[in-house]
């Protein structure tokens, strides 16, 4: 995912897009292709995320599309007020990029577990969350964001994620993306965002989910809630999947989107991380098991 992101950034900058990459002293063996080719458009802000986000906003106010890159919670919670006041309120084209979304850095401990980031970012009215499920979706999300610069949060896994799309999909905010080789059509579906696309794909072979189809929703946020009823209403059962705590997460967002509508919320099930994983330290797969994401029935 990281490499797909940098590759798209390099390609767009070569095409003449006014892009600057700011990193928070992270990105070793990831950001070099951009930094080497566009040294005057690459800045290491050091281990100083508040300033990184503030200066990104200042750069963006002059028409530059800034990608502010770090890992886990550092470019979000550490500088939450700069994101809220400087980027989101001013509607500036800053894309916050966090590598290691969810529990990708499981063994590194709670400081590195990004399991509350959706909650923070989706509380901001102008933010678009980009949570791609595979490297192809990364490319689709980055292409969308570069063509439509806006306050945004790109949540990536680490590296080595499999592709589930044969080609780069066209992605637009709030629109569910059918996964090409999923089972169906049916009136029950899994709906996932972010790297849990891999988990959801595996679950399709579970007998409990026989006949389910699979969708990904890589771009979403407060501004796309109004689009969810129309896409949800035709499904008899929706199961959302995410590697985030239930509170303030993706399933919670969909539930809020449908609340008070003609959609029967008893037909919505949320598969997310139980908060008992907070403070646990283990590899990602172990934490998924502890958090209730190892199998559909857990």
């Amino acid at each position: 995912m990281r490499n797909a992101f940098i590759d798209e950034l390099v390609l767009a900058t070569r095409r003449g897009k006014d892009i600057v990459l700011v990193v928070g002293d992270l990105g070793y063996k990831v950001v070099e292709p951009f930094a080497d080719e566009f040294p005057h458009r690459f800045f290491n802000a050091g281990i100083a995320e508040q300033n990184m986000m503030g200066l990104s906003a200042g750069l963006a106010s002059e028409g530059v599309h800034v990608f502010a890159y770090s890992i886990a919670n550092f470019p979000t919670f550490r500088c939450a007020e700069q994101i809220r006041n400087d980027v989101d309120y001013h509607k500036l084209p800053v894309t916050i990029v966090s590598v290691g979304g969810g529990l990708a850095y499981g063994n590194l401990g709670y400081s590195h577990h990004a399991v509350q980031d959706y909650a923070l970012i989706r509380s901001m009215p102008n933010m678009i969350i980009a949570a791609p499920g595979d490297p192809m979706e990364v490319r689709g999300c980055v292409r969308y964001l570069i063509d439509n610069p806006t306050p945004s949060y790109l949540r990536l896994g680490k590296a080595g994620e499999p592709n589930f799309h044969k080609n780069v999909p066209t992605i637009s905010p709030g629109r569910w993306l059918p996964i090409e080789d999923s089972i169906g059509p049916n009136n029950r579906t899994l709906l996932t965002t972010g790297t849990t696309l891999e988990i959801a794909k595996k679950w399709l072979t579970d007998s409990e989910l026989d006949g389910y189809t699979l969708h990904s929703l890589p771009l979403w946020g407060m501004s796309t809630k109004h689009m969810q009823l129309q896409q949800s209403i035709s499904w008899e059962q929706i199961v959302t999947v995410e590697d985030h705590l239930t509170d303030g997460g993706f399933g919670s967002w969909l539930m809020e989107s449908l609340h008070g509508s003609s959609f029967d919320l008893s037909h919505l099930r949320i598969k997310s991380l139980n908060h008992r994983v907070c403070g646990m330290v283990a590899k990602q797969s172990t934490l998924y098991e502890e958090g209730g994401l190892s199998a559909f029935l857990k």
Binding site: A45, N51, G54, G58, L59, S61, E62
Partner: protein, 269 residues
């Protein structure tokens, strides 16, 4: 540098307008606004390049008020400079007014909304960096409070600016030695501030922040390699004897009698 504008008269006008705004809106922070009136008069009256008829002209100098609570002084300066009418100032603090009680980017001539402290300098660093990338000549001025220097984000920005030799960035620190509850020196002692900024790689000037000659000279100077910081030694509430150096006037708004007395001291009504 502009000529023909009397910045001393402009500062008086800024102070009078600021007082009327906070009185009408029953708002706070008049002490902070009076503290920076001279700095703003020199910036808008002499030093900065701008055209109120083209508020987003690419060649304009950028001004950022990081201590956003002192906004009435900037709104008043913008009226003196031709961005706003004095009638616009009457809406300050009203429901849905674009002149909100912290500086608002929705007002023509305002680059950036603040209110939470410790945001303006980083934003200014980003602007100065953009000018550098685009090989443009305009200058970014950021006005901060000395109490605001408590915020760690400012020290991150100071390091970045000097590391990248942003000589197109000027930080003006309004050193009135008062913050929310008591003096700066009794809250978190910040002195010796000049030495700290020097150690952070900035070009420094430590001046009387009410002396227009010093302000115009020092604000116009540039180091070829370093960002520049002006330590403007000021008096909170400057110009109104009973408000000067009183922490109360961070919060209080003047009643009718106090407004009249203040305006008299400032040569107007």
């Amino acid at each position: 540098m502009k000529t023909g504008i009397c910045t001393v008269k402009m500062a008086y006008a800024i102070r009078r307008s600021a007082l009327k705004m906070v009185h009408r809106a029953k708002a706070s922070h008049i002490g902070s606004a009076l503290s920076i009136a001279d700095i703003l008069a020199v910036l808008y009256g002499q030093v900065m390049h701008f055209d109120p008829l083209q508020p987003y002209s690419q060649t304009r100098d950028r001004f950022i008020l990081s201590k956003g609570h002192a906004c009435v002084a900037v709104y008043a300066a913008l009226a003196e400079a031709g961005y706003l009418s004095h009638k616009d100032l009457h809406t300050y603090g009203e429901d849905h007014s674009w002149l909100m009680n912290h500086i608002s980017h929705k007002v023509p001539g305002v680059e950036f909304s603040t209110g939470a402290l410790g945001h303006g300098l980083s934003f200014g660093v980003g602007k100065a960096l953009a000018a550098r990338i685009n090989k443009e000549e305009w200058i970014t001025y950021v006005l901060l409070g000395d109490g605001e220097m408590d915020e760690g984000s400012n020290w991150e920005a100071l390091m970045f600016a000097s590391h990248h030799r942003l000589c197109n960035l000027v930080a003006i620190i309004d050193c009135n030695n008062l913050q929310s509850l008591t003096s700066v020196s009794e809250t978190l002692s910040i002195e010796p501030l000049a030495e700290k900024l020097l150690a952070f790689g900035w070009d420094i000037s430590d001046i009387d922040g009410h002396d227009h000659r010093s302000l115009s000279q020092q604000l116009a100077q540039r180091s070829p390699t370093k960002p520049r910081a002006i330590l403007a030694r000021t008096i909170k509430g400057k110009g109104v004897s009973f408000m000067e150096n009183q922490v109360d006037w961070h919060y209080k708004n003047p009643n009718d009698e106090e407004l009249d007395a203040a305006l008299k001291e400032l040569g107007g009504n």
